[in-house]
Structures are given as structure tokens and as C-alpha cells.
């Protein structure tokens, strides 16, 4: 009796150990994990028990119609909003307890254009560089590299408001990853930009991904969804599909991501908006 009890306790213990090591393993390979993450506003369930994982270095597309809850979900991940229930970790840190550590490990580019228009290119770089705690010499080196990548060396003292929108977006993205974050969150980064600039923008995303930065991107453009390694599609606060674009197209017998999206979004009960 006693021995049996002892052995079961060992068993439980080892299971627990395995579970722990699995979590650690996950944390090492996963940039983001969520488990039944939920956000309620009163009776309204904006995000309903979503669970997904994003691998390190992956380009993860987070799709959904307006009002599907993707912005709310993203806000919980970047520490702007406290989840109502569920678990989530970003860059290995808990979204409830370690938001400060998360903030240091991520970059963010908001839906609205998010640089200061009345500051010059260089001043914007210096501002965000020092907000993210870059040392002076590193900042200088990074900013030179950034300017030469964007071919903005001659325009570095121009006010940002004088740049064309496409350039602003590229600059905003470059600044969002100036501190080499583990993950960068892009909230509809290419809104209102012409197709050529969008293509160039995606080249920059690929380059960042090649450097090991995980990309978490929301978008409305279904052609952009094709560029992602994997996409999730949210409908009415739930994740209805999650796979690589090719697998999704096969599963839904669709020619394009747009068709996949149409099939899923048609089921939505929530009003668009």
C-alpha cells in the first residue's frame, strides 16, 4: 500500500516534470503562446478563448473582419489591455505579471501612422532609440545603417511630414525594430499604401524575419496573407482557421486566401464595423 502510494507520487512528479520541461521547451521555440485567452467588455465577448502558438522567426498573419476581435487580442498581447481570462506569454513572459519585460522585447507599429510628423527623420530615430534604451554608440551605428538601408541619408534632417506615405511606413517599421526586438507587432501596417510600396514593405518584413525577428501582422489585404508562413482567421472573437496559406486553400478548396476568407467571414454574425 505504502509502496504503491510512493510510486504513484513519483509518477505524478515525473509527469509534472515532463509538463514543465515541455512548457520550457515551448517557451524556447515559441515567440507567443496563448491558452483560452479571453476578453470581455461587460456582456460582450470581444475575444473568446483563443489558443494559438507562434514559432520564433515566423511570419504570422492575424486576419479577421473589422470587429472580429483581432485588435483586442493584439492589445492583450502587447500589454495595452488586461485579459479577462486565459493564459498567454509573449517572448516567454507572462502577459499578466511581466508586461514590463514584454515591452522591452517587442516592437510595435500601430494602425495609425506612428512617428512624429513635426520631428525630422533623425530626431524620430534618436527619440525611439533612446526610449528603447540603446546606448549612444549603438544608436549611432544603427541609425546610419537604417538610413542607408532606406536611402534616406540625404533626407535625414527633413521633417517626417514632408515624406511620402510609403516612406513614412517604411521608416516607421525600421524604427519599430531598431532595438532588435524578439517580436514585432504590426497592426495593419500597409493601409492606404500603393501596391509597389506594399511589396517593398513586405521585402523589409522578410529581411527582418531572416534576422530572427518574429513577425505578428494583422492585415486586410488577402494577397498579403499569402506572404505569411501561417495565418489565423478570426470570426466573431474566435479563431476559425489556423494553418499555412497553402493548407488552408486546400482545406477550403479555394483558389486564393481571399476565397478562404470569404467562406469563413460569411458565417460572421457580428455586424461589420
Amino acid at each position: 500500500m505504502k509502496i504503491v502510494l510512493w510510486s504513484t507520487s513519483i509518477k505524478a512528479n515525473s509527469q509534472w516534470l515532463i509538463a514543465v520541461s515541455r512548457i520550457q521547451n515551448n517557451m524556447e521555440n515559441k515567440a507567443i503562446t496563448t491558452d483560452k485567452l479571453t476578453k470581455r467588455f461587460g456582456d460582450f465577448i470581444a475575444v473568446n478563448e483563443i489558443s494559438f502558438e507562434v514559432d520564433k522567426g515566423e511570419i504570422f498573419g492575424f486576419l479577421g473582419a473589422n470587429g472580429a476581435g483581432k485588435t483586442t487580442a493584439m492589445r492583450m498581447l502587447i500589454g495595452l489591455s488586461k485579459p479577462t481570462a486565459g493564459k498567454a506569454s509573449v517572448a516567454g513572459f507572462d502577459v499578466y505579471q511581466q508586461t514590463e519585460k514584454i515591452k522591452k522585447s517587442i516592437g510595435y507599429m500601430s494602425q495609425k501612422f506612428s512617428l512624429y510628423e513635426d520631428l525630422s527623420v533623425q530626431e524620430n530615430i534618436d527619440l525611439f532609440g533612446s526610449i528603447y534604451g540603446l546606448q549612444k554608440n549603438i544608436l549611432k551605428q544603427k541609425s546610419q545603417q537604417l538610413l542607408s538601408n532606406l536611402k534616406l541619408e540625404d533626407d535625414k534632417n527633413k521633417l517626417v511630414q514632408s515624406l511620402p506615405l510609403g516612406w513614412k511606413q517604411k521608416l516607421a517599421f525600421s524604427i519599430a525594430i531598431i532595438h532588435n526586438p524578439q517580436i514585432v507587432f504590426l497592426d495593419e501596417p500597409t493601409g492606404g499604401v500603393d501596391p509597389i510600396t506594399r511589396r517593398q514593405f513586405w521585402d523589409m518584413i522578410y529581411a527582418a524575419s531572416a534576422n530572427g525577428i518574429t513577425i505578428f501582422v494583422t492585415t486586410h489585404y488577402m494577397d498579403e496573407a499569402e506572404y505569411c508562413n501561417r495565418v489565423s482567421i478570426m470570426v466573431d472573437g474566435k479563431i476559425e482557421a489556423l494553418d499555412s496559406p497553402n493548407n488552408l486553400k486546400k482545406k477550403f478548396e479555394a483558389k486564393s486566401m481571399d476565397e478562404v476568407f470569404q467562406q469563413l467571414a460569411r458565417k460572421a454574425k457580428r455586424a461589420d464595423g
Binding site: K103, K112, D118, G133
Partner: protein, 376 residues
């Protein structure tokens, strides 16, 4: 530890620098902020003056004797009146008012001097246009004081014993200059406008532009964001206080009776409470227009109407007096009047100090609470 502190300082310095760029590059707004006190001082000091100078006066002198001439001389010498017309019949009196030729008519009856000498009593009629009662009252007061003065000069010559004279002294403001009442009021109004309105608009602008979200996602401490935003407006507020004091001392001849540094310190306290009020407004408003509107309705109107700036608090109905007590500017204006005009020290304004500090803490506490709710 020291290193992280250094990094924090650098973060903060860079952020404050950015706030200065915002303000310095918006030349028009900057000019407005710095010129506003000057413009308001000019408007209140010269245009909306309680003193009414150079009024046209018509004289109907039926006596034409020594005494009547003396009185007319006295009116001529006064800065309040210009003798524009001499009239010769009663019918003309009304004509003067109807055609707006005179604001005041004095009628000196015949036999004025002989009556005065024989019976020690003589009457003068002063007629004012009371369609504007405030002006009429002031003009009659001016005229009466000129005549009383003449009368007392006669009495001195006559050397009558047991003469009882009433002597009125206007304490702290002997010449009843309106600058004494409006300078503290303008200071309160300007600081309220610039500190509270401009900070609330500046913070809400970042919300509107979406940059606030980026800052909140960054490792920057939200409290630092707010402090950095407040610093330039604090400085502009101090510059405004100095401008107003300089204008009132050098251009309006209104001395600072009390301690200048106490005056400055109290103004800084008031600026800080206005800044915290601005912060509170920014947590309620989602757009710059809304912030501006709340500032105007909640701050500017009560500051102008209920703080004792234009209307004396004592004359208000009880309900308005209560409201006046929760207007921060009321307490600031009380302090400034005490220090600037009466020359009183800290001992007599500590109560107002406590009230302002209490209000500031309240505004800050509520804003921090609302700020956190907003993040949820």
C-alpha cells in the same frame, strides 16, 4: 543600477527635448502662448477698464459768476471730463443726450455765488444718461467728488469751526485703479488656459495621432510621459507670470507690495494644479476638439465668471458661491491679491495653499485612476 538610472535619465531627457521641438516648431501657437498675456493685459487694462475717462460734458451755466467759473475750471482740470458744449436753454439738455453729444450735463442755477455766500447753501443739478446705469453711477460719483472737493476748499477759506468732514480712503487701491482687480484675475485666467488647456490638448493629440499607443507599448513609464509633456508648459506658464508682473509694474504702475518670490512660488503651485487638471481632462477626452471644449466650459467660464475675477464672490447667490469655492483660480486670485496688493506674507495665505495642494492631489489621483482604467 546606476547604469539603468542613467538610461532612464537619457530616455527622459530625449523625451522632454521632443516636447520642446513640438512647441518650438509650431511657431504660431508659441507666439500665441507668449503673446496672450500681453494681449489680455491690454484688453483688460485699457479697453475693458472700469474707469471711464474723457467723458464729454455739457454745461448749462445760468449763473456765470465767480463760483460757477471755479467749478467749471475744476471739471476742466479733471481727467474724467472734457467740457464739450456750453448750452443755453433747458431744451438743449435732452438734445445733448439724444444726439450722444454729452454723457453728463451739469446745470448751475442763476444766483449761484450769491446763494452760496448768503445762505451757505446752493444747489447744482447733475444729469446723467442712465440708460447705461453703471456708467451713469460712476460719472455721478466722479462729478460729486469734484464738487465736494471745491466745497471743502471753500470751507477751508471760510474757516468755520466745528466742521465735520467725512474722509473716505480706498485702502490698497487709493485711486480705484481697475488694474488692481484685473491683474490677479488675468494671471489666473492665463495660467489656467495655458497650463490646463494646452496640456490636455497636447496629450489628447498624441492619442489622436496614435503615437500615445506606441509610447504606452514602449518601456517608457507612463508617468514620465506625462511629466515630460508638462515641463514645457510649466516653463511657458512661468514666463507668462513674469510677463504679467513686468507689465503691471512697469506699464501700469502697480507695484508688487509683498514678496516677489512668494508670488512666484504660489504661481508655480497654481500652474501645477492647472497641469494636473489638464491631465484629468485629457483622460476624459478622445479628441482635441472635445478637450478644447471641456477646457473652455469647465475651466475658462468659471475662471472668468466665478473666481472673483470680474464679479465679486460675495455678491453671488449661495449656490454660485459654493461652486466658486471649487474653482482653483478663486484661491489663487485670493493669494495673489493678498501678496501683490496687500503685501501680506505666507502666514496669511497658508489656508489657500492647503486648498490648492489638496485640489492638485485630488486631480492627480483621479487622473491616474482613469488612466489605468483606460488601459484596461
Amino acid at each position: 543600477m546606476a547604469k539603468s538610472y542613467q538610461l532612464k535619465m537619457k530616455q527622459f531627457k530625449e523625451f522632454v527635448r521632443k516636447e520642446f521641438y513640438h512647441i518650438l516648431r509650431d511657431r504660431r501657437s508659441l507666439l500665441l502662448l507668449l503673446a496672450m498675456p500681453i494681449v489680455l493685459m491690454i484688453i483688460f487694462g485699457f479697453a475693458i477698464s472700469n474707469e471711464i475717462k474723457n467723458n464729454s460734458l455739457a454745461v448749462y451755466d445760468m449763473a456765470k459768476d465767480q463760483a460757477s467759473q471755479k467749478i467749471i475750471e475744476a471739471f476742466k482740470a479733471s481727467k474724467y471730463f472734457n467740457i464739450s458744449y456750453n448750452i443755453y436753454s433747458e431744451d438743449e439738455i435732452e438734445k445733448m443726450f439724444r444726439q450722444n453729444k454729452a454723457a453728463l450735463v451739469i446745470v448751475i442755477p442763476s444766483q449761484f455765488n450769491s446763494n452760496l455766500i448768503a445762505t451757505n447753501k446752493a444747489a447744482i443739478q447733475i444729469i446723467a444718461d442712465a440708460s447705461d446705469p453703471n456708467t451713469a453711477t460712476s460719472l455721478i460719483n466722479y462729478a460729486t467728488s469734484i464738487i465736494t472737493e471745491y466745497q471743502s476748499s471753500l470751507n477751508q477759506q471760510a474757516n468755520i469751526p466745528y466742521q465735520i468732514q467725512t474722509e473716505t480712503r480706498m485702502l490698497y487701491n487709493p485711486e480705484l485703479k481697475s488694474a488692481y482687480t484685473f491683474v490677479p484675475g488675468v494671471m489666473g485666467l492665463i495660467l489656467m488656459l495655458i497650463s490646463a488647456m494646452m496640456t490636455s490638448v497636447a496629450i489628447v493629440r498624441e492619442k489622436e495621432l496614435g503615437t500615445m499607443e506606441v509610447l504606452l507599448v514602449s518601456p517608457l513609464n507612463p508617468v514620465l510621459i506625462v511629466i515630460a509633456k508638462a515641463i514645457p508648459y510649466f516653463l511657458i506658464g512661468v514666463i507668462n507670470v513674469l510677463t504679467i508682473i513686468a507689465l503691471s509694474v512697469f506699464a501700469m504702475g502697480l507695484p508688487v507690495e509683498g514678496n516677489f518670490f512668494l508670488l512666484l512660488a504660489e504661481s508655480m503651485l497654481f500652474i501645477i494644479s492647472c497641469l494636473s487638471l489638464g491631465l484629468l481632462i485629457s483622460t476624459m477626452a478622445q479628441s482635441q476638439q472635445v478637450a478644447l471644449l471641456i477646457s473652455l466650459l469647465v475651466l475658462m467660464l468659471p475662471t472668468m465668471l466665478l473666481s472673483g475675477f470680474i464679479f465679486p464672490v460675495e455678491n453671488m447667490p449661495k449656490v454660485l458661491q459654493w461652486i466658486s469655492n471649487i474653482v482653483p483660480a478663486t484661491w489663487y486670485i485670493l493669494m495673489i491679491k493678498a501678496i501683490m496688493l496687500k503685501g501680506l506674507g505666507f502666514a496669511s495665505v497658508w489656508k489657500e495653499n492647503l486648498v490648492l495642494i489638496g485640489m492638485t492631489i485630488f486631480f492627480l489621483a483621479v487622473s491616474i485612476k482613469r488612466f489605468n482604467i483606460r488601459l484596461d
